[in-house]
Each structure stands twice: as structure tokens, then as C-alpha cells.
């Protein structure tokens, strides 16, 4: 379909104008002058200021376009720098994870060692106490006999020699011996 050329368009407009005038579709009065003035004014504005207005509106769109581009570029740069930093951090994080694992192992072994040594120390002290007590237990009858021999018998012999009541004297000696032991 061929597009109409300008002379043909003008011809069709003039023909339509003539037909509308003859059939009283277009009524000529003062409003026609207003119509001519109105379209003339619109045409003048479009002719003289159309480019300026279009450019100013286009400039607004271009400014927004540039700002968006800049923000995207800035965002991309930020993402790239974050990616580079992440790449640098990865080996450090791996070393840190290995180091932390070894620290955990060491702390566990140290804990076990400490528990073992503490247990061993307590065991040895308890065994020493038991040994000491056993020895005391073993030596107690001999010591008692010795004390009786050293303290009680001479007094009994002395009292018997002096004809005192031996039972009362033995009781007194026993009490003295007990008080000494307690002391």
C-alpha cells in the first residue's frame, strides 16, 4: 500500500472543504476565524518552540537514563570489589578453620591429661592416708601396752607396796591415762 504524497493529501483536504461548505456542514461565521487563529497559534508554537520543548522533555528522560546507568555501573563495581575481597578472604578463612580444628584437638587432649593427673594425684594421697592409718592401727596395741607398762604398773606396784586399796588406784590411774590420751 503506497503512502499518500503531500500534494494528494492537500488536494483531498481542499475537496473535502468544498463539499462540506456546499452541504452547510461547515458554517462560516466568526468562530471560523477563531478556529484559524487557534490552529495558527498551535502551528506557530510547534514550529518555533516545538524542538525546544521536545529537547527539554527528552533531556529529562536522558538525565534519568544516565543516572540509572551510573547507578548500575556503581553497583557492578561494588559487586566486583566485594567478589575480589571474598576471593582474598577464602584462603584466610580456610587457614582459620584448620587452626580452630587443631586448637579444639589440643584442648581436648589437655583436658584428658589434666583429668588423669588429678585423678592420679588424688589416688596417691588417698592411698598414703590409708597406709598411715593402717600403720597407726597396727602400732596402737603396742603403744597402749607400753603406756600401761610405763605409767600404770609402777603405780600399781607402789600402791600395793603401801597397802592402799588397789581397785580404786587402778581406776584413778585409768582415768589419768585417758585424760592424757585425750590431751
Amino acid at each position: 500500500m503506497k503512502s499518500l504524497s503531500k500534494p494528494y493529501i492537500l488536494l483531498y483536504i481542499v475537496l473535502a472543504f468544498c463539499v462540506a461548505s456546499s452541504k452547510h456542514i461547515l458554517i462560516y461565521n466568526e468562530e471560523t476565524l477563531v478556529l484559524i487563529c487557534f490552529f495558527g497559534f498551535i502551528f506557530a508554537i510547534k514550529h518555533y518552540f516545538g524542538d525546544t520543548l521536545t529537547a527539554s522533555i527528552q533531556e529529562r528522560g536522558d538525565t534519568i537514563h544516565d543516572e540509572l546507568n551510573q547507578s548500575y555501573i556503581t553497583q557492578i563495581h561494588q559487586d566486583l570489589s566485594i567478589r575480589d575481597q571474598y576471593k582474598q578472604i577464602i584462603p584466610v578463612s580456610q587457614v582459620l578453620s584448620v587452626f580452630s580444628a587443631s586448637l579444639v584437638e589440643q584442648s581436648e587432649s589437655t583436658q584428658k591429661l589434666a583429668e588423669y593427673s588429678l585423678k592420679h594425684q588424688i589416688d596417691s594421697q588417698i592411698s598414703k592416708m590409708y597406709t598411715h592409718l593402717y600403720k597407726l592401727q597396727q602400732s596402737f596395741p603396742q603403744k597402749l601396752q607400753k603406756k600401761i607398762h610405763d605409767n600404770v604398773l609402777p603405780n600399781i606396784q607402789q600402791s600395793l607396796a603401801l597397802n592402799k586399796k588397789p581397785i580404786d588406784f587402778i581406776k584413778n590411774s585409768k582415768n589419768k591415762l585417758k585424760a592424757k590420751d585425750f590431751a
Binding site: N29, E30, E31, V34, L35, C37, F38, Q58, R60, G61
Partner: protein, 249 residues
């Protein structure tokens, strides 16, 4: 047949409708009001389809500029408290702008050249602003009638004056828009009548008809400017009255 310059403001019924003694006819005024609203609605609909473009097209830029203009107007006049009134102010501005501009097209009808339309709009907005004032401040809203720093001796006189001035706001707002539109269109019609008559007579007068024709040409541009300006003036006055109601002094 002699036509008068005021004939262009005649309201004619397109679809007559009577209910008792009341007329609910669809008139030429209704038609052009719907046309203005429909044009504005279609423009905003097609521009914001699918959320619009991130990098705006020319029409989207135009719509965004209108939006930013009204938003900055509210921000300057009322402040942060006025943000919730943005929809009504924006709708008002767009409605008046499109109605005035569509009225500039020859053989059309200017709906805002009738006091019924402009006064109805201004009175309803005035009542709404007064209600907002009482809602926010209660009876303390009456303190608006006594200006800050005024001596108490003058209070009785000042309160009456301020009350009259306050009530007259609704009238002045509607009449301003109506008078500007009516006067402008009447003047254009009168001068174009001069030019047409001179052209019809012929001879030297038909040559001289260029002068009134040039004046009509300049007036057309002026009237387009006045159409945009009156929409702006109406809107900014509404914002100022809202600010008085919200923030008092």
C-alpha cells in the same frame, strides 16, 4: 441572524431528562466535563500502563512533571501534613487544566465559564476545608478569626471582619475562575466578530480586518496561558486555605 457574544455560553440539553419539576438532562456542559475527565483519565492510563517506563517517554515525562509540580506545591504551602491531601489537590488541578484547555478549542464549550460549576466546586471545597479545620483543632479553630498579635480592644471588629473575609473565600474562588474564563472567551468572540464583519463588508475594511484578526491571534495565546494560570491559581489558593485550616496561624 445576529449572534451575541454570550451565545457561546448557552447550555443545551443533549439527552433531556425530567423527574418532576427537576431537570437531570445530559447537557453540553456535562458532555465537555466528561470529555475533560475522560481525556485526563486516558492520558494517565496509557502513560502508566504496566507501571510505565523506567526511562520515561515524552508523555510520561509530561505527566510526571505535572505530578511533581503539584507535589512541590503542597510541600511548599502546607508541608508534611498536607501529603494526605495530595490526591484531591492533584485531581482538582488536572480537572481544571483539562477543562480550561478543552474549552479553548473552537466550537467546543468551556464548562468552567459557568458560575454553577466553579462556585459549586469552590463552595464544596470550602466546606470540606472548614470541616478539616474543626476536626483537627476543635473549637480552637475559631482562634483563626483573631489574627496573631492583634490588640484585644479591636477583637470584636476584627473577628467580624475576619469571619466575613473567611466566608467570602468560597465566593471569590469560584467567581475568579468563572470571570476569567467568561471574559476571555467573550473578548475573543467580540473581536473575531469585528474581524468577520469587516471581512464580510469587503473593500478597504476587509484589508483592515487583519488588525482585529492579529489581536484575536494574540488573545488566543493569552487565553491558553490564562487557562493554565487559572487552574494553578485555584489550586494554590486551595492549598493556602488548607494550610490555614491545618496549621492555623
Amino acid at each position: 441572524m445576529i449572534s451575541t457574544p454570550l451565545e457561546q455560553f448557552t447550555i443545551s440539553s443533549i439527552i433531556p431528562l425530567h423527574i418532576g419539576k427537576y431537570y437531570f438532562s445530559f447537557t453540553n456542559s456535562s458532555l465537555y466535563l466528561f470529555l475533560a475527565i475522560g481525556t485526563a483519565g486516558l492520558l494517565f492510563h496509557f502513560v502508566t500502563q504496566n507501571g510505565g517506563f523506567l526511562v520515561p517517554s515524552r508523555w510520561q515525562s509530561l505527566v510526571e512533571m505535572i505530578y511533581e509540580f503539584v507535589r512541590s506545591l503542597i510541600q511548599e504551602q502546607i508541608g508534611a501534613k498536607g501529603r494526605k491531601y495530595f490526591p484531591i489537590v492533584f485531581t482538582l488541578f488536572v480537572f481544571l487544566l483539562f477543562t480550561n484547555l478543552i474549552g479553548m478549542i473552537p466550537y467546543s464549550f468551556t464548562a468552567t465559564s459557568h458560575l454553577a460549576v466553579t462556585f459549586g466546586l469552590s463552595l464544596s471545597l470550602f466546606i470540606a476545608i472548614t470541616i478539616i479545620g474543626f476536626q483537627i483543632h476543635g473549637l480552637h479553630f475559631f482562634s483563626f478569626l483573631l489574627p496573631k498579635g492583634a490588640p484585644l480592644i479591636l477583637a470584636p471588629l476584627l473577628v467580624v471582619l475576619e469571619l466575613v473575609s473567611y466566608c467570602f473565600r468560597a465566593i471569590s474562588l469560584g467567581v475568579r475562575l468563572f470571570a476569567n474564563m467568561m471574559a476571555g472567551h467573550t473578548l475573543v468572540k467580540i473581536l473575531s466578530g469585528f474581524a468577520w464583519t469587516m471581512l464580510s463588508v469587503g473593500g478597504a475594511l476587509s484589508v483592515a480586518s487583519v488588525f482585529p484578526f492579529a489581536v484575536v491571534f494574540a488573545l488566543t495565546g493569552l487565553e491558553i496561558g490564562v487557562a493554565c494560570l487559572q487552574a494553578y491559581v485555584f489550586t494554590i489558593l486551595i492549598c493556602i486555605y488548607l494550610n490555614d485550616a491545618i496549621n492555623l496561624h
